[in-house]
Symmetry: C3
Subunit: 129 residues, 3 copies
């Protein structure tokens, strides 16, 4: 897995790669994860919810014998610009120390299945050939 | 194609998998499909429109010799929470009986190419190696 | 890479394919690109911003030795229906002359990292086996 970071374009806004090049042996696609805690509660704030989404993604990847280092792209949706900082803080912590940072797309949308959710995250991951 | 359903996280809200693990020989990506009927009309309601989107996806997959059992992930967008139930009813019917349910992401957005459309669906599918 | 265009469904609204079938040797996923010019300015209008997004995508693909002919799917988000025409004009120009047109999904969302941005584009690309 190789990061694509052409120096002719502005560097990424945060800790992600502009692109990822991978010779994929296996692919893992996750569903969009929401901030539903194990006890059924929904914590307030994008950061706490994103922490749950990302922990879920770890658990899903682990079922396939993979981990966060295998993520090609994170696609995140938040319900308002005020939730971006919290999501980005959770994402930065999640990706910290990875040798190759995944690609990342972040979009503000109108909502998810329940009004309490302020962030949803899905990933595409790959095992290198 | 294997469903990833870690028991440490809440089960899916509906009939989909938290993640899919696939050794892909071929990939098929569809464009976002809209609820445009063959006669050029746009039926009212998310369920009727989603039925068309999903029938289109079947037709596209069939061109590649694949079918709905090859779908890795469904990405759906609806224009309001009131359209979720209709979309989910169509999706549940569409996925009924599949041995492995695809991953699924559902987001509320502001709209599509024409104001009459209330749902848009794209899929990523794969033929197993 | 093969275009999937079943004749049982309405033809694409514009210059894209309903689906793409590819035996992928390598995959490239880009981050969502925004209309930030090299000098740090953000031009007005979806068309000018989309031109920058697509030039960035070319640069990212080039780092992997690929080009726009390798794009499987373009996923674009605009912040209003009034920005669709500008985005589509940029996309049509970008895809002109390609032997196989990629799949394409276009959705109206609420916004991106900065309010000045009106369009965001990501792609999934593949090198044929």
């Amino acid at each position: 897995m190789k990061a694509l970071k052409p120096d002719t374009i502005a560097p990424p806004f945060a800790a992600y790669s502009h692109g990822i090049d991978v010779t994929a042996k296996r692919l893992v696609a996750t569903s969009g994860q929401l901030g539903l805690a194990a006890d059924g509660s929904i914590p307030e704030g994008a950061e706490a919810q994103a922490d749950i989404c990302l922990a879920n993604i770890d658990a899903i990847l682990a079922e396939a014998g993979l981990d966060r280092a295998n993520i090609i792209r994170l696609n995140a949706f938040v319900t308002g610009r005020e939730h971006m900082a919290g999501y980005m803080a959770a994402r930065d912590r999640y990706l910290e120390g990875l040798p190759v940072l995944p690609a990342s797309t972040l979009v503000i949308v109108s909502g998810f299945t329940c009004p309490e959710f302020v962030v949803e995250i899905e990933v595409l991951a790959a095992e290198n050939a």
